[in-house]
Amino acid sequence: MTTNKNDEFHTSKLDCELNSIEYAYALPDALGYDITERFRKYLGSRFININSTEDLPYFGNDEDPILKKKRNILLCLKHSPYLEPCPGTKNYLCCGYKIMSIVEGCHMDCSYCILQGYLNAPMTRVHVNIKDYENALNNAFMSNPDKSYRIGTGELADSLFLDELTGVSERMIHLFSNYNNSIFEIKTKDHRIEHLLNLDHNRRTIISWSLNTPRIINLEERRTSSLKKRLEAAAAAEQAGYKLGFHFDPLIDYSGWEKDYEEVVKRISKQVNPENICWISLGCLRFPPLLWPYIRNRFPSSKLYLGEFIRGLDGKTRYFKTIRTHMYSAMKKWIQEYLGKNVFVYLCMESELEWQNAFDINACTMEKISSCLDNRI
C-alpha cells in the first residue's frame, strides 16, 4: 500500500465532511487498504467492522432515510468493470463520456438529485481498491493509443466529496498526466480545491463546476458552495494551469431565469479567460418521475414543481420542448456574446430534434458529439 500525504493533511473541508459522517462500515475485504485505514484513523469509534452487508443498519424507517444514507459510509471493493459508459438515456443523445464510480453518494443535498431515487443503495459507498481502477485505466490507454477518453468521477457523486481522505483526484490527476489520449474531469459544486492546486497535472485534467443561478443554489442545492465561491475556485484552478469546464445542468425554468442565467454567464467572463474553458454543457432539468415524492417531502420549499413538464421518450420528466429550445438557444447566445464563439457548447442528454431546434445542427448523432468533444482534448 502506498502512503499518502493526506495522512498529515487535515483541512477544514475534510473536518467538515468527517463531522457529517455518522459511521463508516468496512467489509472484511476492504480492510488493509490505505483508504480504509485512513477512515479508521480519522473516525475512531465511528469506524465499524462488519462481516457482510446484512450487518448494515436499515434506515428505511428513519424520518429522512436519504440523509441517513448520506451520513453513513460503506467501505467496500469494486469489481470490474472499473470504467463504464455514462448511463445515458433511451432515445436521447449521449456524448460518449466514461465514468468511474469510485465514490457513490454525496454529502451535498440537491432537490433534483437522482441519487435520492437509488433505493437499492444502502448508504454512500466508497470503493477502496483504487489501484484496480488505475490498472484498468493504464491498460485501456496503452492498448488503445489512438482512442480518446473523457473520463470523470462526478456522475454518481460530487467528485470532491471526501477527496482529501480518499486521495482519488490526486492519484487520477497524476495518472492522466502521463497520457495524451485522455482527459480526466473533476465535476463539483464545491469551492474547496486547495489540495489540487499544486499538483503536476500536465493539463490533462479539467476541473468543472456545475453552475446555477444564486436563486436556484439557495432554493434547490443545499450544502453546496455559493456561485461566487465556485467561480473564485474556477479562477484559482485556472491560475494553477488547469483546463476548466462548466455544466449548466440542470437549467431550471422560472420567472426571471433569463436575466439570472445571463448574469451567471457574464460572471464567468469576469472571472476566467474563455480560452481555458474546454467545454460548457447545457441540460434542462430532467429526472425519473419517482423522484417527485422525494422532492415534495424533503424539499418543501422547492419550486421545481412549477415547471411545465411532459414525460420524455425515456419516461423521464422533462420540460416541454419549446421551453428547452428557448433556454438552450438563449444560453448559447449569451455564451457566445460573453465568452466568445470558440467556447464549445454541447447539450447533455438531448434529442436530435433539440440539437436541430436550438443549435441548428441537423442529424446530430452520438458519434458527432463525441468526436467534437474528443477534439477538444
Binding site: 417531502n297 416541454f320 420542448k321 419549446t322 421551453i323 434529442s351
Partner: protein, 333 residues
C-alpha cells in the same frame, strides 16, 4: 398535560329539564355538521334510547353537555320539556379525562367524520396540551389517521378553517384532500374557491385538480388565487350561460390546464387546428408523438371491409398532398 387514571365513569341517572342544559358551552362538543335525519325521526318515534351524559355546573345551577349534543339539540327543536340523562360528578375527573371520554363515546356511536377528527386533534393540542408525539403515537392511529408530523400539521390547519367548509367536509361534499389544499390558502382566497367548488358541485377529482391548478398558476403568475378567477377566460368558463354546472367544470379545468401549461397548449392547439382542417374521415385518426418529443406522427386506420380500406387509401393520398400535413410536420420540427 395529558394524564389519565384508569377507572369507570359513573353516572347517576335523573330527569333534567331541558331549560337547565347550557348548550352554549361547547367544551366537549366535537360534532360538526347536521345530525342525520334518521336520528330525528327515531327520537320523534321512540324518544331517547341512549341518555346523554351531562356535567353539573355548580356555578349557575345548570348542566353542561359531555355527550349527546345532537340528541339534546333535536329535543330542543321539537320543544320537549325534559330528558332522562346521566349526570357525572365532574369533581372526580380532570378536564382531559372528560374530553377523552367524550371522544371515545362519539367514536363508539356513529363515528367521527373528517372535520370532527381534525377538531379533536386541535383540542387535544391547544386546550389539553397533549404533546405532538403522543398525539401521533396514540390519538392519530385511534382516529385512523396516518401518524406523521405533516398530517398532524394539516389536521390542525383544517380544524382552523371556516365553519361552512368544515360542515361541507363533514357531509362529504368537500373532499378531505381538497380541504387540505384549501387550508393552505388565505381566508379570502379560500372562501372564494370554496364557493366555486360548492356552487358547481364539483366531484372529488375535479376539486383537487381545480385547486392544484389554481395554486400553481397563482404561484407562477405571482398573483392571488382569487385574482386568477378574474382572468377573462376563467370568468367566461364560470359564467357560460349555455353550459350546465358539470359542463362548466369541464370547461373551467380545461382553461386552467391551458394557463398552467401554455407552451404545450399552444403547440397542441396548432396541431389540433391543422388536423381539423384535414377533415379526416371516420376510421382515420392522426396523433402526434407523446409530449411532441419526436418528429413522428401516427396515422391510425380502422376499417371493416376491403371497400373501406380502398377508400382510406385514397384519403391517405389526399392527406399526404395537403398543405396542412406539411405544416404539421414542419411545426413539429
Amino acid at each position: 398535560m395529558e394524564k389519565i387514571k384508569r377507572h369507570n365513569f359513573i353516572a347517576k341517572y335523573q330527569k333534567v329539564s331541558l331549560s337547565e342544559i347550557d348548550i352554549q358551552n361547547k367544551n366537549y362538543n366535537i360534532r360538526i355538521g347536521e345530525a342525520l335525519p334518521v336520528l330525528k325521526s327515531s327520537i320523534e318515534k321512540h324518544g331517547i334510547i341512549e341518555p346523554p351524559l351531562l356535567l353539573s355546573n355548580a356555578t349557575n345551577n345548570s348542566f353542561i353537555v359531555l355527550c349527546g349534543f345532537r340528541r339534546i339539540g333535536i329535543l330542543k327543536e321539537i320543544r320537549a320539556d325534559n330528558i332522562q340523562a346521566g349526570i357525572i360528578d365532574n369533581s372526580s375527573y380532570s378536564e382531559f379525562e372528560l374530553f377523552s371520554f367524550a371522544v371515545h363515546d362519539n367514536m363508539l356511536g356513529c363515528g367521527l367524520n373528517s372535520s370532527e377528527k381534525a377538531l379533536v386533534i386541535k383540542k387535544l393540542s391547544n386546550i389539553h396540551s397533549v404533546p405532538d408525539d403522543r398525539i401521533m403515537s396514540y390519538w392519530m392511529p385511534l382516529l385512523s389517521l396516518p401518524s406523521n408530523l405533516r398530517e398532524l400539521h394539516l389536521q390542525k390547519q383544517i380544524a382552523d378553517i371556516e365553519k361552512p367548509i368544515l360542515e361541507s367536509i363533514a357531509n362529504g361534499t368537500t373532499n378531505i384532500k381538497a380541504a387540505f389544499l384549501l387550508s393552505e390558502l388565505d381566508r379570502n382566497d379560500r372562501l372564494c374557491l370554496f364557493n366555486i367548488i360548492n356552487n358547481l358541485k364539483m366531484g372529488n377529482n375535479h376539486q383537487k385538480q381545480f385547486l392544484k391548478l389554481i395554486a400553481e398558476i397563482s404561484e407562477r403568475e405571482k398573483k392571488f388565487p382569487s385574482q386568477i378567477l378574474n382572468f377573462s377566460e376563467v370568468k367566461d368558463a364560470l359564467e357560460n350561460g349555455n353550459h350546465n354546472p358539470p359542463q362548466r367544470v369541464v370547461q373551467l379545468i380545461s382553461v386552467l390546464q391551458q394557463m398552467r401549461n401554455p407552451a404545450f397548449s399552444n403547440t397542441d392547439k396548432i396541431f389540433k387546428n391543422l388536423s381539423n382542417k384535414l377533415n379526416l374521415p371516420k376510421g382515420i385518426t392522426l396523433n402526434h408523438s407523446p409530449g411532441y418529443e419526436s418528429e413522428e406522427c401516427n396515422l391510425m386506420l380502422s376499417f371493416s371491409s376491403i371497400e373501406e380500406l380502398k377508400q382510406q387509401n385514397t384519403e391517405i393520398i389526399r392527406i399526404a398532398k395537403s398543405a396542412e400535413i406539411r405544416k404539421i410536420l414542419e411545426h413539429d420540427n
